[in-house]
């Protein structure tokens, strides 16, 4: 267990900044996700924490002690790579033993630790196999076992689910969370997949262009995105962002409601929507529409996406015009210039 902290952390490759001033403090035993699109700097951040890159400036601290300049072998940081990076010519047992031997753990203790970790991850029956004879899910467990066996202060995960088949990914996600709840090792979980970040993490840091755009619990990010980037990045489909001229109104697809269900004084914006396309997703319908009225005239009609949480077909079809409204309580406002969150027109501080 440990607290990870970065202070004004920067990393430039030549003149290209990859990480551009990141201040981040984890809580003890937290599962902290770093979420961002590819090229956002999240991998560089993670590699600096693991010791594979040296920061250009700034500091990285574990329990208030700087680890900058400490080589990876003397940091107590375990990392699980995206492709698991198992040693192919060693058996599973030798793979798990490798960090113990490298760290000169006494032999009796080695066996004890291997027993403990293989028990937790339920891989006792795989110990004599070669990694090439394992399935993706088994490889992940072995990689986790190898990381866990040395009692790290800090776990760093690099997209550990992305090389798994889609079918077992949600199961693996649950297992990862369970493992974290059992061990309570502070974990940095790097991913571009918001489903993983929101579903797994205690808190999520959204990173873009080398900066942290917002740090918060999954619910905070979803309900109260701090700027336009987070609003457009979190949620699938993302938040509807409707340009009202002096402000941008954001609303989740499920907050696009048919006008007759909402009383007049609650309405933040009233839209005349032409239904362009309907999508059936099993438990819900997605409604793709073009806004024909209710917003300032623009070059082209803004598009909105609505979500109807029902399996039955909606009471309208493609080509029809409907009035959709957004409740004042569901509306989020952003400054069109800075992209930052504002309180919106005529609304007292939230």
């Amino acid at each position: 267990m440990a607290i990870l902290e970065t202070r004004a952390l920067e990393k430039h490759f030549g003149r290209i900044p990859a990480v551009n001033g990141i201040d981040l403090t984890s809580e003890d035993g937290e599962l902290l996700a770093i979420l961002g699109p590819s090229g956002s700097g999240k991998s560089t951040l993670m590699r600096m924490v693991a010791g594979l890159e040296e920061p250009s400036s700034g500091d990285i601290l574990v329990d208030n002690e700087s680890i900058v300049g400490v080589p990876p072998k003397r940091r107590n940081v375990a990392m699980v790579f995206q492709n698991f990076a198992l040693y192919p010519h060693m058996s599973v047992r030798e793979n798990i033993r490798f960090p113990l031997v490298a760290r000169k753990v006494p032999e009796a203790e080695q066996q004890q630790k291997i027993d403990w970790v293989t028990g937790i991850l339920e891989i006792e029956n795989l110990l004599e196999r070669r990694p090439t004879r394992l399935s993706g899910g088994q490889m992940q467990r072995v990689a986790l076992a190898r990381a866990l066996v040395r009692d790290p202060e800090l776990f760093v995960f690099d997209e550990p689910l992305s090389s798994l088949d889609a079918q077992i990914r949600s199961q693996a996600r649950g297992e990862l969370r369970e493992l974290h709840d059992r061990t309570r090792i502070t974990t940095l979980y790097v991913t571009h997949d918001q489903l993983e970040a929101l579903g797994l993490a205690d808190r999520v840091a959204v990173i873009h262009e080398g900066r942290i755009h917002q740090l918060g619990t999954p619910r905070e990010l979803y309900e109260n995105p701090g700027n336009l980037f987070v609003a457009g990045f979190i949620g699938d489909p993302p938040m509807n962002l409707i340009d009202l001229g002096d402000t941008i109104l954001g609303a989740r697809p499920e907050h696009l409601l048919e006008a007759d269900s909402v009383s007049q004084e609650e309405i933040a914006v009233d839209l005349d929507v032409e239904i362009e396309h309907l999508e059936f997703l099993g438990a819900e319908w997605l409604i793709y529409g073009a806004v024909r009225g209710g917003v300032p005239e623009g070059d082209r009609a803004p598009r909105v996406i609505g979500r109807l949480r029902q399996a039955e077909p909606p009471g309208f079809g493609t080509g029809e015009r409907r009035r959709f409204v957004i409740r004042q309580s569901n509306a989020r406002y952003f400054d069109p210039q800075s992209g930052e969150r504002t309180n919106g027109p005529g609304v007292a501080a939230a």
Binding site: A50, G51, P71, F81
Partner: protein, 324 residues
């Protein structure tokens, strides 16, 4: 779309003229394949297979330079005759020693060179070019250089050794001012090993470097994170991954070195006496210079079954490692 009507398909116009028919024929995979393979097959047949079978026939006949007809089958007489000569066994032993020593040297040096060349550093390009020089250098030029470097009277190596007090009247290994590299059996062999290693190291390095660069970077970083130092990473992570390419490199250099005539021919000509004689040179001296084609062929073919078996075993082993 239009509906398909049975039995009536639009067909492009039939080819006309010679070029048209040739181009039509080349469209067929069977024809095109044969045409494309023909140069390689013809090359192998005329320049590898025919000489090889000629050599087998020669070794079983009493052909000489004066009477080169293969008309008299003598069975294994030639093989029995050559194995009765002391020079043959010296040559066989020397060939094996030189090859084994060269290959061992190369494996160690290539591994070190690859560890250096796999890293990024200033001036890497220049180092790479210098490194490849021995391979690109013409054999004759290399031979002149080495003959001078190893000369009995004018060797610059000796001169340097005298200057730093290792050779010469007051030197550690004095009083002689010269090592006479090529005039003493041990030094002659060592010189041959040195020059062979110098010439084949670039080839081995290229082969091994390709294998080294195909190791995923994550695996090496994982070793770092797991706490492994340089040597643990090298012996436990890098070398096991390199095993298949090392075997290929060993095989290639061994076959090159064991068949190499020019090094010994240029440095010692097998002397003094037959003390640095090697099989291919001995085969040439017997078969061409002494004119006994049958015995020459027998000497040249002597190692063939051994080399073939070694090559098959090595390649099998490499491919099994690769699959694993």
């Amino acid at each position: 779309m239009s509906t398909v009507t049975g039995g009536h398909h639009p067909v492009s116009a039939a080819p006309t003229g010679l070029m048209g028919r040739i181009s039509e024929a080349l469209e067929r995979p069977g024809v095109l394949g044969c045409v494309m393979l023909a140069p390689a097959v013809l090359y192998v047949v005329f320049f590898v297979a025919v000489p090889f079978f000629m050599a087998i026939l020669l070794s079983l006949s009493d052909a000489t330079a004066g009477d080169p007809r293969i008309d008299n089958f003598v069975g294994l007489d030639n093989f029995i005759a050559v194995t009765g000569q002391e020079a043959f066994w010296t040559a066989l032993w020397n060939s094996l020693i030189i090859t084994a020593a060269t290959v061992t040297t190369i494996v160690v040096l290539a591994t070190i060179a690859v560890e250096i060349l796999a890293r990024e550093f200033r001036g890497k390009r220049l180092v790479q070019v210098l490194f490849m020089m021995p391979w690109a250098m013409p054999v004759s030029l290399a031979a002149i250089t080495w003959l001078w470097l190893l000369d009995s009277q004018f060797s610059p190596i000796d001169w340097v050794l005298v200057q730093i007090g290792i050779l010469g009247p007051d030197g550690l290994f004095g009083p002689s001012r010269h090592v006479y590299y090529l005039g003493r059996t041990g030094w002659g062999m060592a010189s041959a090993v040195f020059v062979d290693a110098w010439r084949t190291l670039p080839l081995a390095t290229i082969i091994v470097l390709a294998g080294r660069l195909s190791i995923p970077r994550e695996r090496l970083e994982q070793a770092q994170i797991d706490g492994a130092g340089f040597f643990r990473t090298l012996f436990r992570v890098v070398l096991p991954a390199l095993a298949p390419v090392l075997i290929v490199a060993i095989l290639f250099t061994a076959l090159l070195v064991i068949g190499e005539v020019s090094t010994i021919e240029l440095l010692t000509r097998g002397g003094p006496g037959h003390s640095t004689q090697i099989l291919p040179l001995w085969a040439y001296e017997k078969g061409i210079e002494s004119g006994d084609l049958g015995q020459g062929a027998a000497i040249a073919l002597f190692l063939f079954p051994v080399l073939l078996a070694a090559a098959i075993v090595a390649l099998r082993f490499a491919s099994r490692l690769h699959d694993d």
